[in-house]
Symmetry: C2
């Protein structure tokens, strides 16, 4: 399972029962939290997120609607007796702010909190399945997008061909990993004779809050399985969007179309809009595989 | 109208669709916010609180469940273009934390934010109708209760007696304020001959998070129209309550009974309790005029 669950889809001013930004990314057994607006822990309760499985939290920037829920979440983990370490990846300036909030309350967390300041080119996570990197986007203050890229998935053994070639089953894991098989007699069966490519590696890019930057962002998200791009306004508010370092639904769609991604998720809707349907229509008229980020809904990343 | 509306009635860990502490006190046209747990601004939306009328915010202590919603509220005021000054009364350590949160986001609020550090004996507000003072309670960190005491209300003129005494109507405002009337001929009508006492002055005490301190708190809240006292636990968890500097429903009730208050509101319920009915029963068995603090409900202070 590789999927993203939306906890908050609104821009800074919570309204229309929409909440500030937060998303949970599920990759197999791991959960990742991307941004953490006020009320995120309540949204986790409402949508039954297994929050103890979150090991890494990624904060794009320090506008309050992207991190004011972090204080409460970290404290609640403490009250719940969490023991597993927790990693926070965020702009450097967040660290003293968190520290101060613990100091004034005389809080000692029962778990290890590891703070990682994001820097240009940072690899935030690199395990056997997944690599997470940060990429800079253009906003009023330092702001980062996040790219979650799955490692190449194992090749598939074609059992009848492997049997025919006389390869023992014990060697199949190595076949999946791409090895050739050397027979006792000395000759070699090439890997591609008895395997086929595994499913394509999947990727999710979270483009945070950003000015419309088709080249810069397009390059990063090229061919992604799914991207989330903010769409604070509709296209008729293009100037306001630019003045506030935000984007429109049409702009998000153009980026998705040009970068050849499979799916686009749009969110961070301005409070001025009660009805979100026009966002969907505007984006789909340019890029049909668009979904609105709806709170409590889970979207599959790739196949 | 003198009334308190509960926005959050739970202790630190939000659960059972209950929220961390916040209350709005309405006095005539003014609104006051007492504590501001995470999600307070969303609760204000849900319960249609006229938040622009809030001129003073009182924060009892710096455990997160009493102030983590403040960051978001202050920012939202800014986004909404608030111009009226806003006063925050809180432990001194909150000021640098707020400042840092504005700095990292490069926020310039469009309204004046006045921070007042609470000190022993502080008079927080003193206008023609109301005096607000802080009183220390005993918690794990510096913690303050708040006493809202109405000024003596004007006396009532008894029109037939005033007419009979030959006092012109133009003098009635002075009669209400307590003056005697000196007739042209030199003799005097004493105020109490033509007026009766106005309605009793009302008072509300918010006792914050506190250890059971019957003497210390009892003295402050003596004869109040209404007090809010925390009741984090039921009496069978008395030891746990004391260890954590909290109180039980029975303890809150004893304080109310001994201090001769008219009404008791209990809240700050631990997340371990799904059902609140036992709190009401425990408290009412000692002090019958108890109400549970229920989110979205407004309780009248006095008559």
């Amino acid at each position: 399972m590789f999927a993203v669950t939306v906890l908050g889809n609104n821009s800074a001013l919570p309204m229309h029962d929409r909440h500030p930004t937060a998303q949970v990314l599920t990759y197999k057994e791991q959960l990742f939290l991307i941004d953490c607006g006020e009320g995120t822990q309540m949204q986790m309760n409402a949508f039954k997120i297994r929050r103890s499985r979150i090991g890494h939290i990624f904060i794009s920037h320090l506008h309050g609607d992207h991190y004011f829920g972090l204080f409460g979440l970290l404290n609640s983990y403490g009250l719940n007796g969490r023991r597993d370490p927790l990693h926070i990846h965020a702009p450097a300036a967040l660290e003293p702010l968190l520290k101060l909030s613990f100091d004034v309350a005389d809080v000692n967390l029962p778990y290890a909190l590891h703070f990682h300041a994001i820097r240009q080119g940072s690899v935030l996570l690199d395990d056997e399945n997944l690599m997470v990197t940060a990429f800079p986007v253009t906003h009023r203050i330092e702001c980062w997008g996040f790219l979650f890229r799955e490692k190449p998935r194992p090749r598939k053994v074609i059992p009848e061909k492997a049997r025919e070639a006389g390869i023992p089953q014990a060697f199949y894991p190595q076949l999946k990993a791409g090895s050739d098989y050397r027979h006792k007699e000395g000759h070699i069966t090439l890997n591609e004779e008895v395997t086929e490519p595994g499913p394509a590696a999947r990727s999710y890019a979270y483009c945070a809050d950003t000015l419309y930057e088709p080249q810069k962002i397009g390059e990063v998200v090229k061919n992604c399985s799914m991207i989330y791009h903010e769409a604070t306004y509709l296209e008729d508010q293009q100037e306001k969007a630019a003045a506030r370092y935000h984007s429109t639904a049409a702009q998000a769609a153009r980026i998705a179309a040009d970068a050849g991604v499979n799916k686009l998720l749009i969110g961070h809707f301005s409070s001025r809009y009660t009805d979100l349907q026009p966002f969907l229509e505007e984006s789909r008229s340019i890029f049909s595989a668009t979904d609105l980020a709806i709170e409590g809904t889970t979207y599959l990343v790739g196949k």
